[in-house]
Symmetry: C2
Amino acid sequence: MSKLEPYSRKLPYSYALGLYPSHALMDARPESVRRLLLSSAAYGNEGAEKLRERCKVLGIREENAERVLRRESKKENCFAGLVFEKYADPPRQAQNHVVFCQISDSGNLGTALRSLLAFGIADAALIRPCVDPFDPHTLRASMGAFYKMRVAIYDTFDDYRENYPAHALYPFMLDGSLPLQEVARAARAPYALVFGNEATGLPAHFQARGQTVRIPQSDQVDSLNLAIAAAVGAYAFAHRTEEEKK
Amino acid sequence: MSKLEPYSRKLPYSYALGLYPSHALMDARPESVRRLLLSSAAYGNEGAEKLRERCKVLGIREENAERVLRRESKKENCFAGLVFEKYADPPRQAQNHVVFCQISDSGNLGTALRSLLAFGIADAALIRPCVDPFDPHTLRASMGAFYKMRVAIYDTFDDYRENYPAHALYPFMLDGSLPLQEVARAARAPYALVFGNEATGLPAHFQARGQTVRIPQSDQVDSLNLAIAAAVGAYAFAHRTEEEKK
């Protein structure tokens, strides 16, 4: 890792860019951090100095790397970032999951992860072909949420299912058989909310897997943005759990 | 309008770019359409030919304007678009509203409008300073939803309120006094869901205006993306309305 390469899926490391995401990574996965990158403007900035201190304590090397920060963030004002080693941390058995099948937009994935974490889902599975969750663009859109979550990639949905045979499956489909509010009320944990590709949704054979869900929506609109659908689904399921707790 | 200028807020017209949004505009506001723009690749394409027919019937001039399409869409493969006159169409008195105060991201606004329409809210108010709803980037993010809605801009929240004194106000704030599900259950229509700026939220004085709402979320996340918050809010309120109807 002597020379820092332009990010690509094949690299064993990635970049956490910006102060807030860098601190989030240090909170959640300090052991994965390899290097601290700073721009000249960072020195003296409070958040950047805190990050320097935290890295010093852990013996993480720091360097002035303005050019790398500009190249990776595509922004002029990226103060600081961390180089970190990619890690594997699969979803937990006892927790609720979200499964994204063939998701293709990195911004969508990041925004969706941030919303899922907000509504209490911290475990996610991606089914190939899918965007790279370690892509700096995904990481940035997740606003640091990715580091706090457990996300793994599976070749097929069946591979995922073999590892987690007990989760109640809720595939979200435009022609799902029951409306979200009804399904959420009766849902059984641990559950897996399953979403398909942005343009094409889930293949029809998911009609036979678990309880399909329809988010009631006006006929004025074609469909919902994927991150919006995932957030609304997670909110409705989380809300139901709260009611159960009472 | 002889020479088509690069889009700016000051122009009296804007651009609907892409086949789907162009058809959506023709469905909702045919009287505002002034010109049909086509790329060479459009001729023979089914959707483009349908658009040509619709324009011909209404006497709308068509022209090959590949350069304009490329310039405005910033894409190579934009087949067709419409030039249309900006129009004023304020929110209706008897309908539910969403009010965005100082929203600053055009993509956020477009995505939010699309989700709101999906959950049955077709009337929106924007409070200055705010993004331009006629910006082609907003229009594109709304996937045509904007044309089907009534959206108006007000200088201040009080200006909006003077025009709509009877709406029950529900300001969404991180420190709102009641959780969304509780407020939604007891809400009174017509209502106005009020959201603040992406970074700063609503000013504190909104605590004294109507019933403030908190979207319950994990302390693992700073806040929700604005379009996500608006969609979850609208879903929860719409769902409550459905239950009432039973």
